[in-house]
């Protein structure tokens, strides 16, 4: 169900700023004690263990639509109409017309730098910016989408749901995840990775791998690109120092899946010799996202990923001052060894490519200011404010300028 699963949640109200775990618990109890009034939201669709197949299907679709609504309104979606059209065009190419009519698929991009994708039972596939930014070509994208599509068209969620719905632990998990707080991909993760039936989900993953590869291959894509896609996933696990994530435990192990892909590739190598990768088209569509995703990486403090993203973007779109500025920010914020010197070089490159871009001036000023070279900092701060009089941190810069009097420092 989940291509590479890491679990994160959205929609948890009010208490996000508090220390986690025990604090939320304490606060919940405190609230109860203070008011003796529950603060729970209205329960969403409850799970009824006595439903028939059709009713199960309807129930599942309702749950999926509720989850989709939460995601749609979360502000976490990456809005790029041209990109979405491109993704959905690939889906149409992968999907036979008769299946398409029964299970319409829609692809939506989520702003998240982690490498992941997931499908809801109603045919909506969510793809993270992180995994899109890491892919090399359209063939890899097609393989990912075909994998997720297979979960939808083969009704994997329904199969898991039917099997699990009478289990008390599952019912409790559904109530926990859906009746209280919304979670990004909660339904997908619950059905695909609940861990209540080890091996069953793994079978579905294997089926999604196999059918997905066949679909991609039949649509003319080079299925051997799956190996590179998996190499990216493996690298992510290694560089991020992730163990097999909790929910990944029920997936076939990455190494095992890689072997399967290798075998498939060997068997189809001759057939795939002239197949499509569409690298240039893919990169043309995806390159703004690569830079946007690199900023998300930086925000998370994933400095190496952010640097890689910025450099990759520059390889496609050289001479963009924003990418040089981002590289400067990576080094300034990391602040190790010679990082500040590197940051200065990147900021200067950003300024030379776009002299009207205010942010690199501010960043240069900040470095000099912290180094105590206020005489050098001053013109950069002044240029910044001159170029962007209403810049968001104007108050800070004005404060620095007041301390950068001509007789001080440097």
């Amino acid at each position: 169900m989940i291509f590479l699963m890491t679990q994160r949640a959205i929609g948890k109200p009010v208490l996000f700023l508090l220390p986690y775990g025990r604090m939320q618990f304490i606060v919940g109890v405190l609230a109860l004690c203070l008011l003796a009034v529950g603060c729970s939201s209205a329960p969403r669709s409850a799970v009824n263990p006595n439903l028939t197949l059709q009713e199960d299907q309807d129930q599942l679709l309702r749950l999926a639509e509720e989850e989709q609504k939460i995601l749609d309104e979360s502000g976490l979606l990456y809005r790029d109409q041209a990109l979405e059209e491109y993704l959905n065009e690939i889906v149409r190419r992968l999907q036979a017309a008769e299946i398409s009519a029964k299970t319409p698929i829609q692809v939506i991009v989520v702003e998240d730098p982690y490498l992941n994708a997931f499908a809801l039972p109603n045919g909506v596939i969510y793809v993270h910016t992180g995994i899109l930014a890491r892919m090399d070509n359209e063939a890899q994208l097609a393989i990912l989408l075909a994998h997720e599509m297979t979960h939808c068209t083969r009704r994997h969620a329904l199969r898991v749901y039917q099997r699990l719905k009478n289990k008390p632990a599952f019912l409790a998990a559904v109530r926990d995840t859906l009746n209280q707080w919304g979670k990004l991909g909660a339904l997908a993760s619950l059905l695909g990775s609940t861990g209540l039936t080890p091996g069953f989900t793994q079978d579905l993953e294997n089926e999604a791998d196999r059918v997905g590869l066949e679909l991609a291959s039949a649509a003319g894509y080079d299925s051997c690109e799956a190996l590179k896609l998996f190499a990216h996933l493996k690298e992510e696990l290694e560089t991020e120092n992730l163990k097999e994530p909790f929910l990944f435990g029920t997936h076939p192990k990455l190494a095992k899946r890689l072997k399967y892909y290798q075998a498939f590739c060997e068997n189809h190598f001759q057939e795939d010799a002239d197949k499509i990768t569409n690298t240039e088209v893919f990169l043309a569509k995806i390159h703004p996202l690569i830079l946007d995703n690199a900023w998300l990486d930086l925000k998370r403090g994933r400095f190496r990923s952010a640097q890689r993203g910025a450099e990759r973007y520059l390889a496609i779109q050289a001479d963009d001052g924003r990418a040089y500025y981002l590289l400067g920010e990576v080094f300034r914020q990391r602040g190790k060894d010679n990082d500040l010197q590197k940051a200065k070089i990147y900021y200067q490159q950003a300024i030379s490519r776009d002299p009207a871009y205010a942010e690199p001036y501010r960043a240069m000023g900040l470095i000099y200011y912290k180094e105590g070279q206020k005489r050098l900092a001053r013109p950069f701060f002044e240029s910044c404010l001159s170029l962007a009089p209403n810049i968001s941190d104007k108050a800070y810069i004005e404060g620095y300028l007041r301390k950068c009097t001509p007789h001080e420092g440097g």
Binding site: A9, V14, R22, V29, L30, C33, G182, S392
Partner: protein
């Protein structure tokens, strides 16, 4: 009955680990080296990690004061606070931490400015966000770095009605904040 047990057991466990008091007055933390005045009628919950105050229900409004070890990792960003950071740099990390949290929906920064807190350089950020139930919340967050700790005082409330109603009480708490620790200089 089961529900009652579910509520009572954690309450008993919780009560053993922290203290919930109903009275106002001066609060002094010897371990975290700060003091504040708590308005009358506000309930306080103090643990070894933070002091939390609420007038009636923390789901409607709360003030949280925390002295966080400066090297303690954040949950949503790997960036780290450092003792010699400028308030602007600390604010940047806090905003990254908050806006990277998937529980924060429709995050919007309203203000980010330098301020003085108990005479020391600090930052103030104001932001809004919403819950999945479309409840809009607003937070004012002050942050101050000392050599070893990151002090933060924040006020979060439901934007409609409660935020405005209780902001004066928050400002009184804020103005009474006294730090007994050496700031980062």
């Amino acid at each position: 009955m089961k529900k009652l047990i579910c509520v009572l057991i954690p309450f008993i466990i919780t009560a053993c680990a922290s203290r919930i008091n109903g009275g106002g007055g001066l609060y002094e933390s010897s371990t975290h080296h700060f003091a504040v005045d708590i308005p009358a009628g506000w309930v306080q919950l103090n643990t070894d990690k933070y002091l939390m105050l609420s007038k009636e229900d923390p789901f409607l409004q709360y003030v949280l004061i925390q002295a966080r070890p400066i090297d303690k990792p954040f949950k949503h960003t790997r960036k780290k606070l450092k003792p010699r950071m400028l308030p602007q740099e600390a604010a940047e990390i806090i905003l990254d931490e908050i806006s990277s949290d998937r529980n924060v929906v429709n995050f919007a920064l309203v203000e980010n400015i330098p301020v003085s807190l108990d005479g020391y350089d600090a930052f103030k950020v104001i932001f809004t966000y919403s819950t999945e139930n479309s409840l809009n919340l607003k937070t004012i967050y002050y942050g101050l770095l000392s050599q070893e700790r990151f002090y933060n005082i924040r006020y979060t409330a439901v934007e409609k009605y409660y935020f405005k109603r209780d902001i004066e009480a928050f400002e009184a708490i804020l103005n009474s904040f006294k730090l007994h620790d050496a700031p980062a200089g």
